[in-house]
Every structure is written in C-alpha cells, then in structure tokens.
Amino acid sequence: MENSNLSMIKNVQDIPFAKGYSIVANTSLPEWFLTFKRNAFDFYLKNYSLVKSGIKDFILGEKFVVAEKNKFPSFDMFLKYPMLEIDAYTVVIVNGRYCSELSSEEDLPFSVFSDGISYSICDDADFLDGKLKCMDNPLVALNSAYLSNGVVIDIASNENIRKPIHIISITCCDDEKIFVNPRIFVNVGENSVVDIVESNLSFDEKYFENRVCQFNIGNNSKVNHYKYFNVSENSLVAENVFVDVKDEAKFNQVSFVKNVGKLDSFLQFEIAEKCDVNSVEAVDAKNKNDVDITALIKHNKNDSLSNVSLYSVVNDEAFVKFMTSVKCANKIEGVDTAQISRILLNSSKADGRIKPFQDIWSEKVKAYHGAVISGVDAKDLFFLESRGIGKDDAKTLILKSCLANILQNIHNEKIYNAFYNLIWL
C-alpha cells in the first residue's frame, strides 16, 4: 500500500522532478526560494502518508498532470457556473497561475500591488522571504513547491481601498485531468481598510486543486473577505487558509460553497491583541458532495473576540463534517469566543458530523459553542404553511434560510446583493 501510494503521488510530481524542482525558468530567483521549494518537496515526500485518506482515495489510480499553461474558458461555461456580479478590481488566476491578461492591473490604485508570486520573488525577494507558509502540512508543502505560479496582493499602510478586489480563480481543462496549486498571498499594511472577494470557479472536469491562501492583516486594519465556491462536482479541492491578525485588527470572512465535489478545508486564525475576528461559512451540499471543514482559532494575546459559524444544508447523499477548535494559551485574559455549527439534513441518505473543541488554559476567557444536526423543524414548516406558502416551497425557504445566515455578515451592499442572489434566486 505504501508503495502504491508513493507511486500515485509521484504521478503528480513527475514534471517538477524531471525539471529538477524548477518550474519557472528564471535565473534571478534567489537561492532561498530554490531551497524553499526543495525543502517543501522533501517534507511532502516524507509526510505524504499524513495526507488525509479521502484525498488519497480521490487521486488513487488517477493520473493528474500539472497544469503548465493557462487555458481560457469559453463564455458558455461561465453561463452555466454563474460568477459574482460586482464592480471590483479583478485579479485572475487560471489553473493556479496568475493571469495578467485577464486582471485589471492597470486600474489598481497605486497603494495596491498585484502580481504573480514568481515575479514578486524576483523583484523584491526580501518582501516575501520568511512570510510565506512552507511546510505546515504535506499539502502546504506540495503547494509551496509550485508556489511561483500564485498571486500576491500587497496593500500599503494607511489606505482605504473603496472598491473591492475580486480574485477570480478558474480551473479548466479538456480531457487531461489536471493538478493545480493556486497560492494566494494577501498582505495588508497597518491602518488599512479593504474588501477582498474571492470566486472559485471551474466547469465539469475532474481535477485536483491544492490551494493555499495566506492573509497577513496589519495592526488596526479592517479586512472583509468574501469567498464563493462554485466548482465542478468532479473536483477535489484541498484548501489551507492561514489568517494572521495583528493587534487591534478586524477580519471578517464570509464564505458560500454553492457547489463542489470533495472539499477538504482547513482554516487557521492566529489572533493577536484586541482583535475582532469573524468567520461565517455556508455549504449547500448535494448529490455526493463530501465536505470537511476544520477551523482552528488560536488566541495568542489578550482581549480579543472571535466567532466561527458554520452552516450547511445537506441534500441527497452528501456528507458534511464541521470541526471547530479554539485554543487560548495559558494566562490569556479577556477573550470572548463563540463557535456555532448547524447542519440541516434534507434527505434520509444525507449525513453530517460536528465536533467542537475548546482548548482553554485560562479562567478569564468566555467561550461559547452550539452544535445542532437536525432535519427541517415541523413547527417552522407549519408556521410558513400557515402563511399560505405550499409545503415544498416552505421547506425550500427553510433550507435556504439556513444558508442565508451568512448574509448578515456582509457589510457591502453590492456584495450583499450578489450573495443574496446566489442563495435565493
């Protein structure tokens, strides 16, 4: 079994190995970066068995090819998988690679820098050195080995970016089953305000996406991150999101998963002093979707607030698992943290799991958690029917309402309307 797994994983690594770790033929890449890639691959190989079994099952026996070129999707495909319709600066990633042709680089204000990571490494190696996540787990290590394909967005200090920045990540291929490694690195300086929207789109193809997103939020900054997934039911998406929130900063994340095949998502929040962190996610799981979301909230300093709320409607034969964990280090004071998970089962074959953990080593911390897995409440159904709404419509209204719990956390009216339409229309 070990050997077959190893050969399976090597399928996706053949190309970079053959090229001696170097995907980007750019001699000006600094030595630290090449070492970084090599170390990442080595770590991945040594720890590949730690990769979750579901991911192994998905790629076992499949031959994925690392996407080497951008392939532009057809307009018809976009109609099938609707995008968020908002007025924003766009940053486009196709098959894990930053795509300057489709991005609105020239429209960006001077205080915002957006570019491919490889160019950023060449231009200003010191800026990224030490900031990029490398080997937090085998999937991050694997992504790090392809890191140069990703995108970096840097927002200067003391800026209020009035128009949202929309990161559109598209995956598309023909018959080849591809393997993509998007890396998104967002750095927000001190005292800045910005809305970042992220759309993840793909079509009907089978592919493996191993994405890593990093958000570094500077002191006293306010960042809203709105995320939307509408990708192929044949996809496997492994996602690692790291959010580092510095003192007195606010980070609000709202996510809606409208469609996905298998999603394995890990979110980690590192929270400093006097911060306010809110993360709310809704998953509309259907068919044989398999969604596993783990959120780890680490309070490292005093006097911060955090809330993680996860909602899902699980239809057909889908499966959803939510795990939330709060950690407060010893002697931490004044932390107020809440974890809420709600799974609404809408089929006898649908299934869900919720696991809340609290790892708190201080008595001066307020911690709350609530977890519910249930079907549609008969009292709610009767109430809506008594208002003249037919049984099927009433049920749909209750299911959509569960997903609509995220809307109250969207503070930009246009983005609110875009998400509202995705949920309700």
Partner: protein, 245 residues
C-alpha cells in the same frame, strides 16, 4: 363565514376537543375565554389544520366549504390567518423575504400578479406607520432576538399584509405592554372596515374592550359552554371562572 359543528379532536391519542360548536359571521369579532387547558389554542390550531391535531369527528366549514380535506397552506389561501401565541424564530429568514413569499403565494391563489417592488414598499410604508414599527425590522430575521411584544407586532404586520377574511389571534396580548396592546387594537381596527372577522383568545380587559366584540364564548373541557356579549367577559375578568364555571 366559519361554522364549526360538533368538532372532536385528538392529540397523541387523547381527545382534547369534545364537540365544539361555534359560528363566526362575516365582519364579526368573537372573544374566546377559558381556563388553561380548556381547548382554546387547540381550537385555533385545528382550524388552521396544524397536523399535530387530528380531527376525529364533526366538521369545520369556511365560506360554505368544509376545510377538513384542505392543507395548511390551502386554508391560509382561503383567507384564514393565525397569529401564534409563541411564533417560531427562523434563523436566516428575513421578515421581508417571509412577507414577500407569503403575500405572493396568496395573491397567486387569488389569481393576482405578484406584488411589484413599488407596491410592496408602499404597503411597507403604510403598515409600519399603523403599527409604529421601524422599517429596519424588514431586514431582521423572523422573530430572532425579538421581545415578546415585538413578536406580537410582527404577527400583526403579517396579518395586515395578508389581509385575511378571518383572523385567529391566540393571546395577542400576552407578555406585551400597554402600548403594544393599543397597537394590536389599532391593527384590528384597521382591518375591520374590510369586513375581516376576528376570533380572539384573550383575558385582558383592555384588548377585549378595544376590539368591541359581538360575542364572547367560554370554553371548558374542550367545549364551548357559554356564549354572551361583552358583559360576560367583564364578569369573568372580575369574578374569575369560579370552581363550577
């Protein structure tokens, strides 16, 4: 309008209504009183076809047609509205979405077109003014975080939007302050000129007098045992139901 004959109802195998007879005419206001457990709320829930209540005998007809075979939503579409004693909170569902969905379902059943946005906002302006509630409520989630009084006012807002032919109000005055009682009475007054009938469960003198009932009924052991005018209600409020009732 509403004609209930010898109505018998079971809940989980236990008979809780034991032959109720009651008639409500068009444009009339009726008050229903009785001790706890006498069957008042059960009667109202049975009329709107709450599936928890199993009709084992008798009949309920509305506008000359039996409703025994109708679904919950069909009863509502026929024009019967229930203001719940304890309405549920529905997380994620905004008041606005509830109102639009319910009004348009009923309009569709009447063969009318859905409300346009200007028509909807005109009604919002009118009804929020009648009920003295802020428009921000429309963005709030249904009954979530509402106080007892706010829930009752929201129920009145739903009633004004749906403009039923018969409104069943289950203790609309419980847990509310004097000002809220006045507003509930205002909502009742607002609908009376449209010929709406009311069947109200209440023991609160102020609401009873403000609603100017045509009849007052006393329920006991799952039956209507006495009918009179407002003086009957005043007597009960003053003297209580008494041991023998």
């Amino acid at each position: 309008m509403l004609d209930i004959k010898n109505l018998k109802v079971n809940v989980e195998g236990k008979q809780i209504l034991n032959g109720v007879d009651l008639q409500v005419g068009s444009g009339e206001t009726h008050i229903l009183m009785g001790k706890n457990g006498s069957g008042k709320s059960s009667l109202l829930n049975t009329i709107v076809k709450n599936p928890k209540y199993e009709i084992s005998g008798g009949d309920i007809s509305f506008l000359g047609e039996s409703i025994l075979q109708k679904s919950v939503s069909d009863v509502a579409k026929a024009g019967i509205f229930l203001s719940f004693q304890n309405p549920p909170s529905i997380s994620g569902l905004s008041v606005s979405t509830l109102l639009k969905n319910s009004v348009n379902s009923i309009r569709k059943a009447r063969g009318e077109k859905p409300l346009t946005a200007p028509e909807y906002f005109k009604l919002v302006d009118e009804y929020t003014e009648v009920l003295e509630i802020p428009k921000e409520w429309l963005k709030r989630q249904v009954n979530l975080g509402f106080s007892g009084g706010e829930k009752k006012k929201l129920s009145m807002l739903e009633m004004l939007f749906l403009k039923p032919k018969l409104a069943l109000l289950d203790e609309p005055d419980s847990g509310v302050d004097v000002d809220a009682v006045n507003i509930i009475a205002k909502a009742i007054d607002y609908l009376k000129p449209f010929g709406v009938s009311f069947l109200i469960v209440s023991h609160y003198e102020k609401l009873i007098s403000l609603s100017k009932p045509n009849f007052v009924h006393i329920m006991q052991d799952g039956k209507v045992v006495q009918t009179g005018d407002i003086t009957l209600a005043q007597k009960i409020i003053k003297q209580g139901f008494g041991d023998g009732e």
